[in-house]
């Protein structure tokens, strides 16, 4: 399984906090995973400059391979402080 989390505006647009996706070839990388998610959640495109974290580390290279058991988070750019 891959655990997928959404935050802030993305969470609101998708109306979902998290979901589990079976680990398979269609979700082998971050780029694949977001394409896969887009089939069901077209609203993903309402949020610009989406960032991704794998196992709670920010990942800039979306071609990074995912592994079974990974936690992947998608969120808008950070606005803390």
């Amino acid at each position: 399984m891959i655990k997928v989390l959404f935050f802030a505006k993305l969470r609101e647009e998708l109306r979902i906090n998290e979901l589990d996706i079976e680990y398979k070839a269609e979700v082998a990388s971050i780029r694949d995973l977001i394409s896969y998610l887009r089939q069901e959640y077209q609203q993903i495109d309402n949020v610009k400059n989406i960032k991704a974290a794998v196992n709670q580390e920010l990942v800039l290279d979306w071609d990074l391979s995912l592994n079974d058991g990974d936690e992947v988070a998608f969120f808008p750019p950070i606005t803390g402080g």
Binding site: A53, T79, G80
Partner: protein, 150 residues
């Protein structure tokens, strides 16, 4: 030390944690406190509150990493970072960064470094809630430009 909490904090008691009265090597203490303020440019609405969301687990790690980076760069004694989440009202404090050092330069620079990186590297998201509308805060490009200068 870093802390993420819903409740407010007392600046004086948080400062005492890193500057006990019996600690005589500390020559400088710098504190930064960020507050919820009214909209700057929006003449059509008045801000009433703010909601702050974070990523439990990742956000704590990011704060610890920022503190460690500052400690590697400057000779500081201690650091106290608190960032709030949840619903905050106008004028509420959002964030505290307090740094102690032997001398002021290290304390000032480390404090500014930490708050600058909090803006870009710690996963928090702010939503501004006004009388008529609410919206997620947009990224301020200046924050990213500032971080790139360190």
């Amino acid at each position: 030390m870093v802390r993420i909490q819903e409740e407010g904090f007392d600046i004086q008691s948080e400062v005492k944690k890193i500057k006990p009265s019996d600690e005589s090597d500390i020559g400088a203490l710098v504190t930064f406190v960020g507050y919820v303020r009214d909209f700057k440019d929006n003449k059509f609405d008045t801000l009433t509150s703010m909601e702050i969301e974070f990523y439990p687990g990742m956000t704590e790690k990011a704060l610890i990493e920022i503190e460690e980076k500052a400690r590697r760069a400057w000779d500081v004694f201690d650091v106290n970072i608190i960032h709030r989440f949840g619903k905050l009202n106008l004028n509420d404090e959002i964030v505290l960064v307090a740094v102690t050092s032997a001398h002021r330069t290290e304390a000032f620079r480390a404090c500014e470094f930490i708050i600058d990186f909090l803006k870009t590297d710690a996963p928090f998201w702010k939503k501004e809630i006004g009388l008529k509308s609410e919206s997620w805060v947009d990224v301020n490009k200046k924050d990213y430009e500032k971080v790139n200068k360190w």
